[in-house]
Amino acid sequence: MNIRSQVSMVFHLDKCIGCHTCSIACKNVWTDRKGAEYMWWNNVETKPGTGFPTAWEDQDQYGGGFVQSGEGLVQLRSNGRYRGMANIFHNPRLPQLDDYYEPWTYRYEDLFTAKAGDDQPIARAVSLVTGKPIEIEAGPNWDDDLSGSPIYAANDPNLEALTPAQRAQMFEMERLVFFYLPRICNHCSNPACVASCPSGALYKRGEDGVVVLNQDRCRGWRMCVSSCPYKKTYFNWSTGKSEKCVLCYPRLESGQAPACFHSCVGRIRYLGVVLYDADKIVEVAAKKDEELVQAQRDMILDPKDPEIIRLALEAGVPWSVIESAQKSPVYKFVKEWGLALPLHVEYRTLPMLFYVPPLLPILGNGDGNLYETTNDELFGTLDRNRLPVEYLARMFSGGNVGLIRYALKKMIAVRYHRRQITVGDVEGDKLTQILAEADLTAEEAEAIYRLTSLPNFEDRFVIPPMHREEAIMALTDPLEFKGAAGFGFITPPERQL
């Protein structure tokens, strides 16, 4: 067993407002630079939709992630390190500028400086690449709230999971629906970007599992860009190097939440530590699609198990990290409750960020002239969901419908449990039956409710303090470091003459 710790996140999609504040916070902190204008390390997508870059989930086009390559084995779908080397100057899988968008700005200053004339001046849109007036044809959030749904949402690759009848109905009033999907780097435990980098510039940090890209070593081959199935590494056209989400590790190290997390208005994000067995990665990644989620869950270890604690300490996991893992909200959502699921686990990178699927309104049942929406049950039932569970399964469980049903059922049961407390109209044995069917005790239901609806910041943000001493030890003698901190030059200045 090779125990590693991972700072992991849960996104509660039922709570997401779709405000994109996370995207803005990230943009302002990290990618408000030349060459990075088009990058959105954090973005929020509307589902159904094709997202950013357009149709990123279509791996036939982009060739990201891993595929099974025989019993118990996986290989990069394209651009293996060696294959990639062979084709290093030709990478047809790379998304082009049009797949992202041509960043633009407005000549705001024209509003101040325009000469007197017979019509009103405006601030023209101009390309941030060419500086010339631009016709805006794409953007980082182009299909927001079903914008252009006949072109975008209707071509969402996940709709392939539906029957033709369901698919035809998706855009009728009776079934029309959408939800939001915030996305950052998944900080995978089997990262394709790391596997594909010819320069070894990408690595996964030992202490927290954050996947980072060493700017000094990057040679701009962009294999990471094509191999990341989530399209969360980006090429900076100004520096000639690639960049990606760093989970705001400088903030994490000083006890602050990542910018996206910190700014989350809907309070949908939970950050915590999970311990996992890194020896299992290959075995897990090679499972059948529908078994992947369970296998990944099995890879995550119980931080309260004395044997795991012993092995973790042996593996050099600090005690504070283990303690933190024991209080982890992520562990609860993912492992204890089975409510949170990885995004596109079938890409086999073992993403370490998880999503609680959304509850959505029930179907309409009109006769074409009149719209009706009625329900025998108080809350939605899975069979009458606007969004077919198959769609969610395609996104969050490698097609395993049972896991989606399990999670949704549990959330609905929590609502009934609370309904009985707040209103008291859940008749007789009905509640007992609902809870039993959802594999839930009243106590657990209450705990889920509390973490969903009433969490304070410190309930949602549970990460260990940084072990600064270890970071220092890696570079220098701590005692020497202590004496050296303070006034003076860290490196002697170069003489100019």
Binding site: D14, K15, I17, T21, I24, K27, Y106, L111, D119, Q120, P121, I122, A123, R124, A125, I136, N141, W142, D144, D145, L146, S147, G148, S149, P150, I151, F171, M173, Y180, V265, P358, L360, P361, I362, G364, G366, D367, N369, L370, Y371, E372, T373, T374, N375, L378, F379, G380, M411, R415, Y416, H417, R419, I421, T422, V423, G424, D425, Y449, S453, L454
Partner: protein, 972 residues
């Protein structure tokens, strides 16, 4: 249970939208009403996809079911008890004989009974039938509120005159003298329906009077027959009779089963929880022409099921957040009341409708559609009713006269007026003799034009400028894209008609702004303003229970200044220049309308019009109040920086609550910075922090002692114990500094109606329900029935449904050629994503997330018919103007409507319009034109009495129709 309509929490309540999601997991059922699958619909258990603007029809039918099932078939004891205590349902209404049948008239006044003939304000005291069979007047009415004898203005079910208990009879169904054939209006079909209403005949001083209870009238109005004769629906499936679940189908497009189930679940939840059903409502409803009826239909459901004044229940109104919580002290400074000044406060919709000459393009409200009943208001042109409103003291209007108001005062002096009272008499006489004309009577005369316009904290030329192109034409006299033809000529009687409409009325437009928005671009002078992070200020609304400070993280950039410093500088310069232009103190005349929360609420029991000789002109009674104000412009600055002594003497108050502050005022001088102004030492408000501190120290919401005193005041008026509400926080004093260390929760205050002890969440009217303090209405109770003569005339005395205005008469598309391959759509402008109105929306970030523009959302089938594909340029136009933007083709939008979210600037990447002579196209308000609903102008009658920012016609624009076509090649 929560019903959301006309509000999109994700967009407009982003910071607390999470509560909606969280409540769901706490067992709350959430139902969203919206024509489009909007952002908040993702949280819904059920999305009710009704036709735009038809929410009222749905709720009318919900009320039909609620009344039938939970008030009649299986009456809920909780509901009945609630409506008895807290609504006007037991009050007696006169049934007026009209031909062979009856119409519902006004409330029966206490004065008709001999036993009440000695009562003060007996015409404002009303009657309830007691279980004993005797009609009695309960306390708590408007008459009790303003009578000399205190302590009777409360909701106890007692007759304060006799000192006896009242057991109200809700319905005469069991025991009546007659079943009266009462005629009700069916506006959808412009006809009357006659329905039997159980009535009693009271022997009075005036002889026998036939009366019914409001409760029985409600049953009849909603069509719940209870075995009575008349045009009642047979059952829920009766499509013809208002207001059954089947009836509403043709308006809402939603089936009857959905209504029935919703109503049952609503009533069931309310009964089970003691009233925890709520409606979240917002600007999506607020801007329809008949918005008041849509609101009312929902509110009726809340009242019938005991949900108002309950935590977890009630109407949560997500509009109008500009109102401050510490209102009394803020208003004293803002409106210079600390120097004893009567401010000139104007309701903006009337002002712009008239001054920007939009009334000239309006054929008048009566052409939009009518009902079976008519009267002097229903037939008059909108502007004539607004003129009547000003002359009768219902609404304000500035400028006031066709003469300079300073000259009016000078003329009074010349004519021998010595005292202020003499001046008032002189002015009143000139008004009464029709010598001194109101500016509103002749708004297009040059002497009536507004000339100088300061725009502050608003985008008044674009975002809020309904009829924007008319602003450009008539205010600014610049280019515009309106092609509307004038329609008022010949339809008006009172207003002075000028053949040619004036253009360019404004001489100077000054904008205080931190953005180069449309208003700034069109102004003569832009004063750069500090943003929120560059100044000291307070932030609170009437909808949150917290008060926040703004603090300067950085100094105002470049030349910008905080608002306080900007206005201070203007005051200083003005005072300096006044030494030359107006060196001596001068007298000014200020007219103000009859005022809410004052005895003015008893001013006009009838709508008698002095200009028609129906009564005399009496200032403050049959017409506006007339005040004489002394102005010393040379002292403007020294008074600006001082909190004047008038508040020390008079105390502070608002909403009819008063509290003394003299000791705190003195303490401020003693312990804080002070200045001498007009020879008096005053607390200094020279800096923004000091002004903020003055607001905080003198408001009951932030000063516990003042909260206590305010409750003492209401305790005296009502005769019910209240000071205990302030006891626990009597010691609390909030200063700007303490807020900077942590935002604070507001204290309980009688100025607001929620109770917030401990951690209790604010919920409006819990104060009234739990402490028996009356609502500020005629009956003192929540009103099902509005007996104002104007309401009766318009058939809105009872909750009802009126269809949207007739598009042809509404006149958006008379000139624009419908043959230009355009498609006719209903144009909606709900509040949008990533901007608050127009603020923030034009920043690069938000533009990047929003397709680089504020697009035109439309349905795919509508688009296909016009050959439009997603992201094509489109030209959207009507008689009012034109917008050129990109199409956003989405299944989210139903056929027949379109959306441009409120509110884009016309400054960013807007092309020219080939349809309108290749001029620059406009912004979303280029397509709108203001119309006013005249019923919302009435005044001087109980709750229908003017209060700035609370009462007056709303600016409506949801009923707008547009045409859209593809714009092949944009040119810039």
């Amino acid at each position: 249970m929560t019903a959301v309509m006309g509000a999109n929490l994700n967009m407009t309540r982003t910071p607390d939208c999470h509560f909606a999601a969280e409540a769901r997991h706490n067992g709350t059922k959430m139902v969203v009403f919206a024509p489009d699958f909007n952002q908040v619909a993702k949280y819904a258990d059920q999305w009710i996809a009704l036709h735009a603007g038809q929410d009222g029809a749905f709720w009318m039918a919900v009320n039909h079911v609620i009344l039938n099932e939970t008030h009649h078939e299986k009456p809920s004891a909780f509901f009945l008890d609630y409506v008895k205590k807290y609504t006007d349902s037991p009050f007696l209404v006169r049934l007026e004989k009209d031909g062979d049948s009856y119409k519902a008239g006004q409330f029966l006044r206490a004065g008709v009974l001999k036993k009440y003939s000695g009562e003060q304000h007996k015409e404002w005291k009303l009657l309830i039938m007691d279980a004993s069979g005797e009609a009695k007047t309960p306390g708590g009415t408007m008459g009790h509120r303003w009578q000399e004898k205190p302590g009777q203005w409360n909701l106890k079910l007692e007759d304060p005159t006799a000192g006896s208990v009242i057991d109200p009879v809700l319905s005469f169904l069991e025991k009546h003298d007659a079943v009266a054939d009462v005629r009700f209006a069916d506006f959808a079909r412009e006809r009357e329906v006659t329905r039997g209403v159980p009535a009693r005949i009271l022997e009075t001083e005036e002889g026998p009077i036939t009366v019914a209870t409001v409760y029985d009238l409600l049953f009849a109005e909603f069509g719940v027959g209870r075995g009575l004769p008349g045009d009642y629906p047979k059952n829920y499936d009766d499509e013809d009779a208002p207001f059954t679940p089947a009836w509403q189908e043709k308006f809402t497009g939603v089936g009857r089963n959905t209504v029935r189930e919703f109503a049952r679940e609503w009533a069931h939840t309310a009964e089970k929880t003691g009233g925890k059903c709520s409606i979240i409502i917002g600007a999506g409803v607020n801007h329809w022409y008949h918005n008041n009826l849509i609101y009312r239909a929902g509110i009726v459901a809340l009242m019938l099921t005991g949900c108002v004044g309950k935590n977890g229940g009630g109407l949560n109104h997500y509009v109008g957040q500009e109102k401050l919580a510490p209102q009394a002290s803020w208003a004293a400074i803002t409106f210079a009341r600390d120097w004893g000044v009567v401010p000139r406060l104007q309701n903006a919709p009337s002002w712009h409708y008239i001054h920007s000459d939009q009334w000239r393009y309006d054929a008048g409200h009566s052409t939009y559609g009518g009902g079976p009943w008519t009267g002097d208001m229903t037939e008059a042109h909108t502007i004539d009713i607004n003129i009547r409103a000003v002359r009768s003291g219902w609404l304000p209007f500035f400028p006031q006269f066709k003469e300079n108001s300073l000259n009016v005062a000078t003329a009074a002096a010349k004519a021998g007026a010595k005292s202020d009272a003499d001046v008032v008499s002189y002015v009143a006489k000139r008004i009464a003799d029709r010598k001194l004309k109101f500016a509103v009577e002749d708004p297009d005369a040059p002497e009536s034009w507004p000339r100088v316009w300061y725009i502050w904290r608003g985008n008044a030329i674009m975002a809020s400028a309904k009829g924007h192109e008319f602003f450009l034409k008539h205010y600014l006299g610049t280019h515009h894209n309106a092609v509307a033809e004038e329609a008022a000529e010949g339809n008006t009687e009172i207003v002075e008609w000028h053949k040619k409409a004036p253009t360019g009325k404004m001489d100077l437009v000054v904008d205080v702004n931190f953005r180069m928005d449309t208003s700034a671009l069109y102004s003569d002078i832009v004063l750069p303003a500090a943003t929120w992070y560059e100044k000291s200020d307070l932030n609170s609304t009437d909808m949150h229970s917290f008060i926040h400070p703004l603090s300067a993280a950085v100094p105002p950039v470049w030349e910008s200044r905080s608002d306080w410093e900007t206005f201070k500088a203007i005051a200083k310069k003005t005072a300096e220049l006044a030494k030359r232009h107006l060196p001596e103190p001068v007298k000014d005349i200020v007219l103000s309308p009859l005022s809410h929360d004052s005895p003015d609420e008893l001013a006009q029991p009838t709508m008698a019009d002095w200009t028609k000789g129906e009564c005399e002109f009496i200032p403050g009674k049959t017409g506006p109040r007339i005040a004489v104000v002394e102005r010393d412009y040379t002292r403007l600055y020294e008074r600006f920086i001082a909190l004047g002594p008038a508040v020390k003497k008079a105390g502070l108050g608002v909403h009819g609550v008063k509290y003394p502050i003299a000791d705190f005022y003195d303490q401020m001088i003693e312990t804080g910075p002070s200045v001498v102004a007009s020879g008096v030492r005053c607390p200094s408000i020279e800096s923004a922090e000091q002004a903020s501190d003055a607001v905080l120290q003198l408001a009951p919401e932030t000063n516990g002692e003042l909260s206590y005193r305010a409750y003492q005041d209401v305790e005296k008026r009502t005769g019910v114990p209240l000071t205990d509400l302030a006891e626990g926080s009597r010691h609390v004093r909030t200063t700007y500094r303490t807020l900077q260390s942590q935002p604070r929760r507001l204290l309980n205050s009688p100025i607001w109606s929620g109770l917030m002890d401990g951690d209790r969440a604010y919920s409006a009217y819990t104060y009234n329900v739990e402490r028996l303090v009356p609502w500020r209405t005629l009956t003192g109770r929540q009103a099902f029935y509005l007996d104002h003569p104007g309401y009766i005339q318009f058939g809105e005395h009872l909750p009802t449904y009126k269809p949207s205005p007739l598009p042809k008469a509404y006149g958006d598309l008379n000139t624009s050629d419908p043959q230009q391959k355009g498609k006719w759509l209903n144009y909606l402008t709900p509040h949008g994503k990533w901007h608050i109105h127009s603020t923030y929306g034009d920043t690069l970030r938000m533009m990047a997330l929003n397709r680089g523009c504020e697009p035109f959302w439309m349905n795919p089938q509508d688009a296909e018919e016009l050959g439009i594909v997603d992201n094509d340029w489109v030209e959207v136009y009507n008689d009012n103007g034109v917008v050129c933007t990109r199409a956003n083709v989405s299944h989210r939008i139903p056929k027949g409507i379109c959306i441009i979210y409120h509110s884009p600037e016309r400054t960013l990447n807007v092309p020219k319009s080939p349809l309108r002579g290749n001029r620059r196209a406009g912004g979303h308000n280029s397509l709108t034109r203001a119309r006013l609903k005249p019923l919302l102008m009435v005044g001087g009658y109980a709750q229908f009495t003017y209060h700035f920012n609370y009462w007056g016609p709303t600016g409506v624009n949801r009923d707008t129709q547009i045409l859209v076509r593809k714009l092949e090649k944009p040119s810039f």
